[in-house]
Symmetry: D3
Subunit: 289 residues, 6 copies
C-alpha cells in the first residue's frame, strides 16, 4: 500500500506542474561526480516527460580552473573571486559553451530528450554591463578590485527560450552574456538562473547545490519551508551566512518578481530532485512568496 | 528511497498515458460498497488530472432488481439471464440513467471533475438491434428464449464522446441503446465498453469487476500478463470459465480491433486502479494484442 | 402569391435568428398528448436545421405524480406545492432524467437531430441551495413549510451547454440541480430555463405552456407584444395572476439580464412555435426588454 | 394554417441551400422594367441573407445597342448576331461594366447587401480566345462571318469570386473576358454563367430569362422537372428550339461537369425566384443531372 | 561595385516596406503617354512582388472630356471646375470604371499581377454627400455655383480593400462614390486616395502627378524632405500655390490621421517610383508627420 | 538611371527568394580577415531582412590548429587529413562551438539579427558514425589510416533548425556530430552543409570559399553557370581537381536530392554574396539541377 500512497501524493503535483516552467541551476561544485550528474539529468528528463518545461543553467568554475592550468595559465583570484582577464574569458567561454553545455546536451540526448546548448549571445538572450571596479574585502581591509570581463545582467530576452520550450527542447544555458557592443562577459550563474526564471514567469526556481538547504545556525536541521520574509530575516540574524547569502537573496528577488517557489536542494544526493518535487515534505528548503 | 523508486517507476507511465483514451467498465457487482465506489471515482479523477481521457461505462443489475421489487414487480430470469419486458426496461432505464449515472457524476463532481451522464440515445451514441429469441441452456436442455427488450450493439457513433473528452469532461455511459426506430434496448455493459473502446481507438480497456483477474484452474494465482492468444487458449482449455468467458472474449475482440491493452482488476480492493496502471507488475491481469 | 408573402416575411427572421441561442421550456402540462409533443419536437428540429442553437428545458410534474402512485407512495402537496421528501426526490430524478429527457432525445433522433439529456450535475451545470422552510399561504393563514429537497439555483455553469451547442447537439435539461455537497435537489423548470437563457446570453426564451399567452382580465384577448414594463404593470394591476405571475416575473428578470425576447405560447396547439417565430404577428405573447 | 405549411415546406430547403453557391444569370431582355429588376435584386438579397453564396452574371444587349445609337454608331448584326468592331467593344465594355454592373451593385446596396462589380480581367477571372470567322446561316446559305472582338471562354479562374463570397460580398460579373495578350473580348453571358458555375462547383445555376421555362411543342405547358437526358432529347426532337437551344445545352454541360441543378425561370414575373427555390413544385423548369 | 551600393541601400527599405500598405494616386494628367503608364504599372507590380500592398486610385479628367465630345456633348467648366450634369456623370462613370480602371487592370495582368477594378459603390467603399452650391472665384468676383453630381466623401469602408489586399490582389479605385440613397457622385481622386490611405492605415500615400514635387518659389529646386509643418508653412507663405495647394493639404491631413509618409513625384518621368522608394535621396518630395 | 536598372534587376530575385531557405557554408580558409568576415555577416543579415531563411555552417581548421599549438599539442596530419585524437576532439569542439560559432553569433547580433550557435548534438541535429580506418594515398602508396574521432553524417534531424528559422533566428552550425552513443565526432563542414540543405529542402546551397568558382583548366575564366551534368563531366575530364572535387561532388548530390541551386563564390572578396544573388550574371559559379 506504500506505493499507492506515494502515487496518490505525487499525482496531484504532476497535474499542478504540467505546462509550468522550472529553471534548474546545476551548481558547478555539485555533481562533479559524472555518475551523479548523469542521474540528475535522467530526473530532469522525467520532469520533461510529464510536461514540465525545464530550463537548465549551469556553472563550471572548477573546470575552467583546470583547463586554465592545462593551458599553462595561472587562474587569478582576489578574495575568492575569479579575475577574468582576456585569456580567462576565452577559456571560460570555450569550456562553458563548448564543453560543459555540450556534455549536458549529450546526456539529455542519451536519456531521450533533445537539449539545445545556449550562451547569452544566442538570440540576444542575456545582455550585461561590465561591472567595473568593486569594493572587495581583502584580508582585513576593503580594496577596489577590477574583476575584468565580468558582467551584471541587465536584460533577459526570453523569446528564444520560449520558442525552444514550446517546440519541446530543453535549453541549457551557460553563464556568458554579451554587452551592448557585442563583447562577451562572464556572469554569475545563480543570478542568471534567477533572472531567467523571472523573465519566463517560471513556477519554480531550483538551485541544485552542494548543501542540503537552508539550515539553522548549528547546522543540525534543514528548514523545509520558509516564507520569503523568514528567509530574509535569517540573513539578517546571521543564520544564513557565507556563500548562501547571495543565493537566498537572488531567490527572494525572483519570488518578489513573480516566481512562485524557490528551492535549494543538495545535488550531490541522487534523486533529490524527484523527492523535493513530488512529496509533501520534500528534502531541501522551499521558499515561497 | 522507496519513494524515489515508485516515482521513477510511475513517471514514464504518466508520460505514456497522457492524452490517451481509457475506457473503464465499473462492474455492477463490484463496488456495491459506496465507500469503495467513492475511492474508485477518486482514482479516476487522478487519472483525469494527469491528462488521461477517461470514459466510464457502468452496469447496474443488482440495483435494477432491487427497484423492481420495490415496485412490486418480480424480476424474471431464465438460466441466469434477465428477461426484459416493457416494465423492466422502463425501470432499468430510470435506474441506470436517472440514478446510477447521476450518482457517479455527483461523485466525480465531489472529487473535482465534471462528468456527463449519457445513455445510448444521447448523440446517437449506441445503436442496437433487438436480439430476438436465443438458444439458452435451461437445466439439461436448450430452449428458444426471447429475452425481451435486449439489444446487440451494431453501431457506436463516438462523436459525442470525443466532443466531451476534448472539452475536458468525463462521460459516464449507461448500458441502454436505441434501435433504428428510436426504441430503447437493454444492452450488455461489458460489450458496450469494449465497442466504445474500439470506436474511440482507446489505449486501454479496463474492466473493474469482482475477481482479481484471470486465474489458473486452481484459483491459486492471478496471471499478470497474457497475450491475446494465451488468453483465448485458456478459454479453450477451460482454465477461463463461467462469467469470465464473455469478458475475456470481448476484450480480445477489442484488442484485435486496435485497443492496445485490456485489463481485468478487482474493483472491490481499494486503489487497485492506480497500482495496475503505474507499477511494473500491476495487481490484475493485463492482456495485450 | 400568398406563398411569396409568407417567404418574404419569414426569410429575414431566418437570417436574424441564425446562430442565436433559444432556450425553450416545454411545460409538463402542455404536450401531455404524445402526438403534440412529437410535432413540437419536429418543429424544434426545423429550428435546429436553420442554424438556431436550441436548448430544451422540460418539467414533468404529472409524470412524477403518476410514478409515485405506481410505487404506492402518496404524493404530498401543501397549498399546491409539491413536498419533496427523499423518496420523491429519487422518483423525480429517475422520471425526469431516465424517462422524460430520454424520451425527448429519442424523438429528436427520430426527427433527424442529435439530443443529449442532461441534469444539473452534468458538467456542474446547475448548482442550487436547499430552500429551507418558507412562508406559504395555507387556506386563510401563512405557515412555515419545509418543501424538502427543493433548491434555488445559484450558479449556472454554461460551459457544457456551449460545448454541445457548438458541436451541433440539442441539450435537453431536466430540472434537477446539485448543492455544494453533491446532493440532488428538485428545482423549478421555468426558473432554470430563464437562468440558463441568461447564462448563455440567449436571444430568446420561449415558454411553451398550456395557455395562449398573457391575456387581459376578461380572458378575451391575448396581448401580442408587451414591453417588460407593461408586463410588470399587469402583475401589479392583477391582470396577470395565478401561475402566470412567476412565469412572467422570471421572464422579465431574464430580459433585464440581457435576453432579448421572451415568448409565452400555447404548446398544445400544433405548430405554434413556427408561427410565433416566423410571422410578424405571431400567435402568443412576446415580451421585449 | 397555410402559413405553417409554407414554412414547413421552405425550412428544409433553407437548410439544404445554406452555404451553397448559386450562379444567377440575369437576362438582358428580362427585367428591362427597372421595378422588376429591383424586385429581383431584393429577392437575391434574401437568398444572401439566409446564407446562399450568390454570384450574379448579367447580359446587356439592348442597352449596348441603345448607347451605340446615342453615339451615332450603327450597331451591325449578321443573322441576328452582333458584330463587335473596335468601337462596339469599347461601348460594350463601358456599358456593361461602367453602367449595368454599377447599377446592380447600387440596387444590392440599397437592399442591404454589398456587391462588387467585376469584369473578366479582374483577378484574371475569364480568359478567352478570339473566335475568328464562323459559319453562320445567312438567309438561305452559310457564310464565313467574322464577328469581331468576340471570345470563347477558355479558363475560369474562380479565386477572386471565392475570396469575395467568403468575405460576404455578392460578385456581379459582366460578360467581358481578356485574351492571353490582355485584349478585351465580348463573350456570351449564358456561357460565362455556366462556366463560372462549374468552376465554383455551384449547387445551382439559375437562368432568369423572358420565358416561363422549357415548354412542350404547343407552348401549352411548362415542364417542371427534366432530367438532363430528357432535356437533351427534347432538343433532338425539336421540342426545344431557337434561342432556348444554347441555353439548355449550356446548362446540361454544367450539370455534366458537376453543377447539381439548373433552372430556367421567367425573370419578368416578380418573385419567381423565391417560389422556384422554396416550394416543392416551383414555377419554372428544373433540370437535374 | 556601384551595384552593391545600390543593393545595400535598397535592401533595408525592402524589409521596412514589406507588408505595408501604399496608396498610389495615378494622376489623370500624368501618364497620358501609354508607354509611361505601362512602365509605371510594371513598377507597381515590382512593389507588389516584394510584399507591398498597393492600392491604386486614378483620375481621368482628360479622357472624360474627350468622350463627352465624341458623344456630341460640350463639357462645361466654371472657373476650371467641371460641372457634372446627369449626362456627364454617366459618361464619367463609364469612362472611369469601364475604360480606365479596366485598362489598368489589363496592364497589371500583363505584368503578372491580378488587379480588381472598383468604384465607390463596390462593397460600399466610398459614401459621399452631394456638395451643393459653392462659392467659386469667377473672374474678379465670387459666385455661388452648383457643380452638379459632385460629392464630398464622408465614409470610407475599407473592408473590401482589405479583403482583396489580403488575398493578393491590387485594387484599382475609380473616383466615383455613392450617396446614402444609392446615387452615384463624381469625387476628387486626390481626396479619395488620401482618405483611403487613412482608412487603411497606409504607410505611404504617393501622388504621381505631372510636376517634380514641391518646389521653391523660383521653381529652381525640388524640396526632397519636408515636415508637415514646413509644408503647411509653405502654403501660408505662397511658395506652394495653385493646384498644388489642395494636394499638399490633403496629404497633410492624411499624415495627421496616421499615414506615415506622403510623396509627390513626377509620374511622367519613367521609373521615378522605384527611385523615390529605394534610394536614400529619392527624386520627388517626401512629407513626414 | 543605373540605379533603376540595378533595382529592376534585383527586385524579381527578392520576390523569388522570399521565404526560401539558403544554407551558406563559410569556409575556414576564407574570411580569415575579421573585416571580411564582418562584411559577409552584414550581407547575410540583409538576406535575412528580406525574408530569406539563412542557415550558416562554418569550418575552422586554421583556428583549431592554432589553439592546439597554444596548448602545446602538435596537430597531426596524414596526407593532409587531420588525425583527430581525444585531445584534438576536445579542442576542436571548444574552438568550433565555444569560439567561432560564438563570434559569428555576436557579429550577427551587432548587425541587427539574432543568431543561435548550434552543434550537432543540439536537438539531435547531426547523427554520425565513426569512419574507421580508410585507404589514404600516402606518398606513393595507399595506407589504411584511422583518422580518429571523425564521423560520417548519417541522419540530419532538421526540426530544431526549422523551429529556429520559423521563429526568425539564424542558426549557426559547427561541424560536430554525435554518434548513437552520444559521443562527439568531428565532421566535414562542406558535407554537413550539403546534407542540411537537403534536409531543409533548401532553395540554394552557397559555398563561400577562397576561390572564385569553378574555373577552366588554365585558370583563366570562371564558369558562371553549369548544369549538374557539365559540372560532373568537368571532374571526369580533370578540369575540376584537387580540393574542389569533393565540394562539387557534394553540391551535385545536394542538387540531385532536391536543392535547386548550388553556388561557389569567393568569400574573400567583399560583397560577392549580394552580387551573386541579385544580379543576372553573378560573380561565382552557379550549378543547377
Amino acid at each position: 500500500m506504500r506505493q499507492v500512497e506515494v502515487l496518490t501524493e505525487a499525482l496531484p503535483y504532476i497535474r499542478q506542474f504540467r505546462g509550468t516552467v522550472m529553471v534548474i541551476k546545476l551548481g558547478g561544485h555539485a555533481m562533479v561526480d559524472p555518475a551523479v550528474l548523469e542521474a540528475a539529468i535522467r530526473d530532469v528528463v522525467l520532469l520533461h516527460y510529464i510536461g514540465i518545461r525545464v530550463v537548465l543553467v549551469h556553472g563550471g568554475g572548477p573546470e575552467i580552473t583546470e583547463k586554465m592550468k592545462a593551458l599553462g595559465k595561472e587562474p587569478k583570484f582576489v578574495a575568492g573571486l575569479r579575475v577574468t582577464d582576456e585569456d580567462t574569458l576565452e577559456v571560460a567561454q570555450m569550456v562553458l559553451v563548448g564543453k560543459i553545455s555540450s556534455n549536458i546536451v549529450s546526456l539529455l540526448e542519451k536519456s531521450g530528450a533533445h537539449g539545445v546548448g545556449l550562451s547569452g549571445n544566442d538570440g540576444g538572450l542575456l545582455v550585461a554591463r561590465r561591472m567595473g571596479p568593486q569594493l572587495v574585502r581583502v584580508g582585513d581591509h576593503d580594496e577596489q578590485v577590477d574583476l575584468g570581463h565580468v558582467g551584471e545582467v541587465q536584460v533577459v530576452e526570453p523569446a528564444l527560450l520560449s520558442t525552444l520550450l514550446e517546440a519541446g527542447y530543453i535549453p541549457v544555458v551557460a553563464p556568458i552574456a554579451i554587452d551592448r557592443d557585442g563583447n562577451s562577459l562572464n556572469i554569475n550563474a545563480d543570478t542568471a538562473a534567477a533572472m531567467i526564471a523571472v523573465a519566463l514567469k517560471a513556477y519554480k526556481l531550483i538551485n541544485m547545490t552542494d548543501v542540503d538547504g537552508v539550515m539553522d545556525r548549528d547546522r543540525t536541521k534543514v528548514y523545509r519551508r520558509l516564507s520569503m520574509d523568514e528567509a530574509l530575516a535569517m540573513i539578517g540574524s546571521g543564520a544564513v551566512a557565507g556563500g548562501m547569502i547571495p543565493k537566498v537573496e537572488g531567490m527572494c528577488r525572483a519570488l518578489e518578481a513573480g516566481v512562485r517557489f524557490a528551492h535549494i536542494i543538495n545535488g550531490n544526493t541522487e534523486r533529490n530532485l524527484l523527492l523535493e518535487l513530488f512529496t509533501r515534505d520534500g528534502v531541501g528548503t522551499m521558499i515561497f512568496a
